[in-house]
Symmetry: D2
Subunit: 284 residues, 4 copies
C-alpha cells in the first residue's frame, strides 16, 4: 500500500486528491495546512495526522518511509514543497502550475537527479473526453485550422481577496486558470507558438496565438472570471465543439492511476505551458 | 428581503447557514473569515463580499442596513461577535454555544436592552423528529424514568490540533458537542438538575445526572469523540430508542424559519445548558 | 490622569508613543497587536493589558472610560482603527498617514461630528527645529524660491517583504515616507500646488512640484529607500540647508503635549498632503 | 568570514545574536520570522535577506554554503529548527532550552552523527562573573552547603498571552526561565540531584533540591514572574551573595567567541538541566 503525505489539505482541491488516493488504494498518513478546517479528512482517512506548521510536519515526515508527497498548496509554494518531497525521499505529485517561473524547472530537474526521485504533474485535462475527441478530430483530413477556446467561470469577489487573486501567490489568472488550457492547446496542436495579440487584466485575458508552427492553428482565446455569468468551457475546432466541462470530476483519480502505472507527466511535460504563461504575463 | 452578514464563513458549519439563508429567501451581503477558502459562497451568494480582517468587515457593515448578523466563528469569539452584531444595529443569530461562561449572558442581555436588538440561538436539536417523538413518549403515563444518552462521533487526530481541541477556544467537548445534548435533556426533562457523578477528558465525558427535580429522571450520559468507531447518537427512555442522527441536515433552515416567524430561542433559552456545562467543566 | 489604549503595540513606532504617553503623565491600559513581541511594555506600563485579537480588545475597551485611542497599526488599518476609537467614546491620536484615500477623510469627519470626538494626526516634522528655522528663513526678504528636498534612508531587503513594502497595506513609499515631507512642504510653502514632473518606483520617487501658487516655490524632490547609502534628510531653500534628521526623537512627546494642550492637528491639517500623495500615486 | 542564517529574527533575544555575530566578525545572510517587524536588522546587517515563510527560507538556505544556523525561535520549534540547520549542512547555535523533552536530545545526537555537524547550546550564565566567583567560593574549605537561589523578574500581563505563557510553546516558566538557573546549579554543584519538595504555577515555582549527591548542597529555589516587583537575581552560598544580574548583556558575544574557538557547549552539556526541568514539570 502506497504511503502519501499531502501539503495544502484544507484547500479547495484537496478533497479531489483525498478521493484519488483512496480510490487507487493508497494511504494518507499526514497533511499540512495552516488552516484547521480539515474535518473532511474523516470521510477518507480518519487515521491521518494533521499538522499546522511546516516545521513539525517536516520533522514527522523525515522519520517515515513515504512513497508520494502530494502538493496542492498555494501556487507560489509548489516549488518549495516539491523540493521538500524529494528531500524526504519520496516522489512528488504536484498540482498545476508546477512552478510560476520556467527557470525553476531546471532547479527541480537537478534535484530530481540528485535524489533519484520523480515529480509528476497533474495535467488532468489531457485525460478528459473532450481532449480525446479533439485529438480524433485532428486526425481527420480537412479539419479546420481555426480554433476558439472560450473559458468563462464565475467567482464572487472573495476570489480577488483570496490568495488566488494575489498575483504573487497564484501567478494570476494566467497561471491559476490559463495553465490548464494552454497545456491542452500545446498538447493538441504542438509546442511551438507565436503570440499575435494579447491583453488582459485581473479577471480576463484574451488574444490570438498561432500554435503548431507552419501549417498550424490560428487560436483565439478568452479566459474570463465573471461574477454572475453561467460557466462555459468550450473548445471549437472549426465548427466542432468540445465541451471541457464534462467528465471533469474523476480526472484526478485517473491521473493517479496513470502515475502509479508509470505513465505520469514528468517535469518536461509541464514546461511548454509554463513558458507560454510566463511570456503572456510579461506582455500583460 | 432580509439582509445578512456572517462571521466565520470558511468554517465547517457555515454552509448550513448559507443554505438556510438562501432557502428562507434572505440575502447574504458580506462574510468574514481569516481563512480564504470560501469558494463555496459562489453556489449560494455570488455577489457576497468577503473580508479577511475584522476591522475592514466592521467598517463595511457599519455603513449598511443589516437585519441579521450570523455568528458561526470559533466559540470563544461568539460573545464578541454577538456584541458586534448588536452594535451595528442588527439582530443576531448565533451558533451554539452562545457563550463559554454563563456570566457573559448577563452582559449580552444588557446590550440587547440598550440596542433594542435580539440574539437568537441555534438550538436545532429541539426541532428534530427525535425530540418531538421523545416529548410524545413523555406524555404517556407509566413511561420509564431511566434515560440513557449515548453520543459517539468520530474525528481524526486533526480534531485535537484544531481550535475545536483547544479548551480555551472551544470550551472543550462539553461546550463543543455536549451543549447540544444538555440543551435537549433540560428541554425534555426540565431545567433543574443534580449531578451525581461525572468524569471526563479531552475526548470523552460521562456521568449520571438527575434531571427534573423530584420525580424526575435518572440520566446516564456518555459523550465520546472516537477515532475509528461508527457514529452513534441515541437517546433511550426506558426501552424506547430515539435516533438523534435522523433529520439532522435541514434543522438549520427550520431554525431560521422559526426565527423569522418570531419564534426563535432567545438568550434565556440558552442559559440552563450553559450553566450545566460550566458546572461539569469545573468538575472535570 | 488620561487613559489611553493603543493599536499596533508591537510595531516599530509604538515605543515612541509609549514614551510620549509616559512623559506626558498618561496611563496606557491596553494594547492590541497580533504579534506578541511586546515585552518592551514592561519598561513603560507594566500593568497594561495585551490583546492579540481585535474582537477581544474591542470588548475590553467598550467597558472602559478611555480618553485617547492611539493608532499606530499598519497604514491600511488607520481608517478602521480611528473609527473604532471614536466609537468607544475616545479622542484619537493617529500616526501618519491618517488615511490612504482622501475621500476617507470625509467619512471620518462625519463620524467625528456624530460622536463629538476628535482625531489628532501626528505631524511631528512641523514641530521640529528644521521646520522652525525654515519658516524663519522664509520671512526674510529676498530668499530663494528654489527648493530641494532630498530624503534618502536605508532599509534592507526586509522592507520589501514587510507590510511597508506592500502597496495595498502601506500605500507605498509615497504614503509611508513621503507623506511626512509633503506635509512639511505644503505647510511651509502653502497648500496649493502644481505637479510638473513625477516618476517613481517601489524604492524611489522623484519629480518637481510648484508649490504655493503664483510667486510660489519650485521644489525638486527625491525620496529614496536605499539599501546601503548613509541616510540623508535635507531641505535646501536656495543655499540654506535645513537638516531634517536633527531633533527627531522627541517630537512624538512634543506632539502629545500639543494635543493635550488643545493644539493638535485635526483632520483638515492632514488633507493637503494626502491629496497630493494620492495624485502622485495615480501618476506613478 | 563565517556565514550565518537565523530563525526567529523578530523576537526579543534576536538582537543579542545580531550583536554577537557582528562583534565576532560574522556575516548574517538570511533570517526567518513570520512577524515582519525586523527593521533592527539595518543596524547590523543591511544586506541580510528576510523571509516570512519557512518554505522559502529553506529553499534559499539550501542553495547556500552556510557555517552556522542560529535558532532563537519559540522554544517548541527549537528541535525542528536544529534539524533544519544540520540538514542544510551547517553547525547550529541554539538558544536555551535546546529541547522541551529530554528524549529529543537523542534524536538530535543521531542526526549530528549522520550529518557530521554539531549543535552548540547558549548557556551564557556559565560564562558570567557571578558563576566564576561562585566557583571560586566553592574551592574554599569550609564553605557553606546551604544555597539559596532567588530569581524574580517582572513581566506584564502580555507575558501570559504571548507564546511564552503558553505551556506547549514555551515549556512554561521552568523551561523558559528556570532552565538557565538549573543549568547553573547543576554546573556548580554537580549533575546528580534529589528533589525534596516542589510546587508551582504559571508564574512561580519553588522548592528544595539536594544537588551534588552525598556531601552535596541543600538548595532552596524560588522562581517568580512578578508583575510589579523590582527584579532580583541572586545566588546565596551560605552568606555569600552572587548577583546574577551583572555582566549579563555581553554574554552572548562571549558565547559566540567560545563556540568559534571550539569551546562551545555541545548537546550533552544541556542534558542535566533539561532532565531536571522535565521532572519538575511532571511534579507541578
Amino acid at each position: 500500500m502506497k504511503k502519501y503525505v499531502l501539503l495544502g489539505g484544507a484547500g479547495y482541491v484537496a478533497p479531489k486528491h483525498y478521493g484519488a488516493i483512496k480510490q487507487t488504494g493508497g494511504d494518507l498518513i499526514a497533511i499540512l495546512d495552516p488552516h484547521d478546517n480539515v474535518g473532511i479528512l474523516d470521510s477518507y482517512f480518519p487515521g491521518c495526522q494533521y499538522f499546522r506548521e511546516f516545521e513539525r510536519f517536516d520533522r514527522f515526515c523525515s522519520g517515515q518511509d513515504i512513497d508520494y508527497t502530494v502538493v496542492c498548496s498555494p501556487n507560489y509554494l509548489h516549488d518549495a514543497h516539491c523540493r521538500f518531497g524529494l528531500r524526504i525521499g519520496s516522489d512528488v505529485i504536484c498540482e498545476k502550475p508546477l512552478v510560476l517561473h520556467e527557470r525553476n524547472l531546471d532547479g527541480l530537474i537537478q534535484m530530481c537527479n540528485i535524489t533519484r526521485h520523480r515529480i509528476w504533474n497533474i495535467l488532468q485535462l489531457r485525460l478528459g473526453d473532450a481532449c480525446k475527441k479533439a485529438r480524433e478530430e485532428l486526425t481527420k483530413p480537412g479539419h479546420s485550422n481555426y480554433v476558439w477556446l472560450g473559458y468563462t467561470i464565475s467567482r464572487g469577489s472573495w476570489y480577488d481577496y483570496s490568495w488566488k487573486g494575489n498575483l504573487e501567490k497564484s501567478g494570476g489568472i494566467l497561471f491559476n486558470i490559463g495553465i490548464h488550457l494552454f497545456d491542452l492547446l500545446l498538447y493538441l496542436f504542438g509546442p511551438s507558438y507565436k503570440i499575435k495579440t494579447w491583453r488582459g487584466g485581473k479577471r480576463y485575458q484574451e488574444g490570438r496565438i498561432f500554435i503548431g508552427g507552419y501549417g498550424g492553428y490560428d487560436v483565439g482565446i478568452l479566459l474570463e472570471i465573471a461574477q454572475d455569468l453561467p460557466p462555459k468551457r468550450e473548445l471549437l475546432i472549426g465548427n466542432e465543439t468540445f465541451d471541457l466541462s464534462k467528465n471533469f470530476t474523476d480526472l484526478h483519480t485517473e491521473s493517479y492511476r496513470q502515475i502509479l502505472a508509470g505513465n505520469g507527466f514528468g517535469i518536461e511535460y509541464a514546461r511548454p505551458a509554463i513558458t507560454l504563461c510566463e511570456e503572456l504575463r510579461n506582455l500583460g
